[in-house]
Amino acid sequence: MKTKILAVPYIIWMIIFTIIPLGLVIFFAFTTQSGKFTFSNIVAMNDYLDVLFRSIEFSVIATVICLLLGLPVAYLISRLARGKQGTMLMIVIIPMWINFLLRTYAWMTLLEENGIINRFFGLFHLGPFNLINNSGAVILGMIYNYIPFMILPLYSVMTKIDENVIEAAQDLGCSGFHIMTKIILPLSKQGISTGIITVFVPSVSTFIISRMLGGGTNDLIGDIIESQFLGNSYNPHLGSAMSLVLMVIVLLIMSLFNQFGSEEAVI
């Protein structure tokens, strides 16, 4: 009985710093500057529909590529000897520990018109290619920043797959392709859905990557939200409406990929 009281400070904290702020976002989204109820902020979101769809499109592409690249990497790591698994995982994790601003900045220096990649091609008298300030660069930035989030959950389910199951399948005449589709993929469903969520959510809401690599014409929903609060067009009400829309998208993705607890009520 007594131990339950220990959770009280946290519950109070949770109410003040998690629930009330989200309530404020909803409140701001449906009010005008003078505090009157309005739908106009949500309707005004319409001007930014293109940005919204672009954000979703980019992050879907990034998530799919992360998944395609992540599957073989995670599988390879999970089949290594135990000690080596640790080392390989570390190799995948280390870049994640460097601040994403620095990593994205590094890509800027690589992709620029007179950046290192174009110089490399210049040695063979090719290019210069247009590598930065386009949608491809933004997607690349997302993949680069979030691919470890895909590999890790995939690895953690794949490492539990019993080697004997795979061997049994091989003995029964399964081809490599069939092993992948009939055994490994079904057994790592949980990891795949976690991976999709952990890549998609930060991608769809990112706001610096697009600014650094997208050249100002590939703004994503995150950039627009930021500019309503601290940037060029101050309007926290519209910004809140956008945040609300973003939140709904995330919720939808979460429930699509089955991560939320089942008894969960929608916020």
């Binding site: 001007d47 293109d50 950046g115 290192i116 609060f229 060029n232 829309v245 008894e263």
Partner: protein, 456 residues
């Protein structure tokens, strides 16, 4: 097998990394060595005539270049040159002054200059907390949303009048800023602050064009070159509606301060045309992108253009023939400032001749400070970037004024349309929201039902 694997990875990594380092390709990099003699050679002969610079009214106590050691004036603060202002009156009160200025807009943490903030700290015992912003609108957002923690901000003209109107900045006590007498009368009581109660001019300048001589194919004469297909995908443009529309309106021959919807719409469609040629929409990043030669041509502020040319001799400037925007940036004190007296002391310090001179020399912007102007040699006085000639200023330049909220909102809307394709139906987003929420509920309910079934 595994060993090969490691070796291959290492090799690829090394190859790619060092291909970037190997040798000089035909594009030279920007060297940091700034040579002063470049300045005099690189002036493009545009519409500027070199004469016609009227003398400023001389202030009461000015320093002539004979009195000071010009070699050390930038590197060491000479206390004997300070005015007799009591800088120690707020000592030991443990005050921290929060200053918010444009990026790279003061001689702070530079090798060849004394650090203005550190000297102020040493002199007064007041700690300076120095922060930067990139656009006027960003500063406005920060003041509106941050609760106004700043003691000093340095916005531009039209933003100052907007802030005055909204009560974001307060009146100054000019008896605490005796060095205000150095300010050229031409910059006192301008339209944005008619009675000159709120602001002390810090720098001024014009927006001009910076370009890379090796990368442009034609002679650059004005804004029209930002719409020239010869510069396709090498153009940078301001990522801010006010500045971008200012350029487009001048290019079309309209006033930058127009509130005429037709003219604004025309400007918007011109900007839309330009979009295909533009490499990126940026603000402060222009400095790095042009300096690093990843883009060829961009609009930028005259002082910074001078700095860029000093650092990279491949760059040159052009004063647009169509005319341009003249801006004045002035120090103001937000209404919420906690240390008004200290802030006024700081403004006064900024207008000490030696401090203003160091800032001016570092920034290369034009100065409203007569004491600094009298220290200039002829080379600077005839440099159209640093001292644009009066007839150009009078005939071709315009200062932004604060537009009505309606026009600002309309400009923002047009700007969104330029950068974002607009959709037709106004109910798409609400419908999308409702469907998403419904779908979420449905999925969750279905899952919990399924779970219950599983239990039984």
């Amino acid at each position: 097998m595994k060993k090969n694997f490691v070796i291959i990875i290492t090799l690829i990594l090394l190859l790619i990394t060092f291909s970037g380092c190997s040798g000089n390709t035909n594009r030279t990099s920007s060297d940091t060595s700034s040579s002063n003699n470049v300045k005099s050679e690189t002036y493009s002969n545009t519409v500027i005539s070199e004469e016609n610079i009227t003398d400023n009214s001389q202030p009461l106590n000015s320093i002539s270049s004979d009195d000071v050691n010009m070699d050390t004036i930038l590197t060491k603060l000479d206390k004997s040159l300070l005015s007799d202002y009591d800088y120690s009156k707020l000592k030991n009160q443990n005050i921290t002054l929060n200053v918010c200025n444009w990026g790279e807009y003061m001689a702070v943490n530079q090798d060849d200059y004394f650090d203005v903030n550190q000297e102020f700290e040493k002199l007064t015992g007041i700690k300076v907390n120095y922060k930067t912003f990139a656009t006027n609108e960003e500063l406005y957002s920060k003041l509106k949303s941050g609760g106004g923690d700043y003691d000093i901000v340095i916005p531009s003209d039209y933003m100052i009048s907007k802030m005055i109107k909204e009560g974001l900045i307060q009146k100054l006590d000019f008896s605490n800023i005796p060095n205000f007498s150095y300010i050229d009368k031409k910059f006192v009581g301008l339209e944005y602050d008619p009675e000159n109660e709120y602001s002390v001019p810090y720098t001024w300048g014009i927006v001009c064009i910076v370009y890379n001589k090796n990368m442009v194919k034609k002679e650059i004469t004005g804004w029209c070159d930002l719409w020239d297909e010869a510069n396709d995908n090498n153009i940078l443009m301001f990522n801010n509606p006010r500045d971008a529309f200012g350029i487009a309106l001048t290019y079309l021959g309209y006033s930058q301060n127009t509130e005429d919807k037709k003219e604004l719409e025309e400007a918007a469609s011109t900007l839309k045309q330009q979009k295909n040629l533009v490499q990126a929409y940026v603000m402060d990043e222009i400095f790095d992108k042009i300096g690093g030669e990843s883009s060829a041509i961009a609009p930028y502020y005259a002082g910074d253009v001078q700095t860029m040319i000093d650092e990279n001799p491949n760059l040159d400037f052009c004063i647009p023939k169509e005319g341009t925007n003249k801006f004045v940036d002035a120090a103001c004190i937000p209404t919420a400032a906690k240390n008004k007296e200290a802030a006024e002391m700081y403004i006064n310090f900024l207008n000490e001749i030696q401090v203003a001179y160091a800032n001016c020399d570092y920034l290369c912007y034009s100065t409203p400070h007569t004491g600094v102007y009298s220290l200039f040699d002829d080379e600077i006085k005839t440099n159209p970037l640093r001292c644009p000639p009066d007839d150009y200023l009078n005939e071709k330049t315009e200062v932004f004024i604060n537009l009505s909220d309606e026009t600002n909102a309309y400009t923002q809307e047009l700007w969104n349309q330029i950068k974002i394709e607009k959709s037709k139906s106004p109910w798409l987003v609400p419908a999308f929201l409702l469907i998403s929420i419904a779908l979420t509920f449905f999925l969750n309910i279905r899952r919990s039902r399924k779970k219950k079934q599983d239990i039984f």
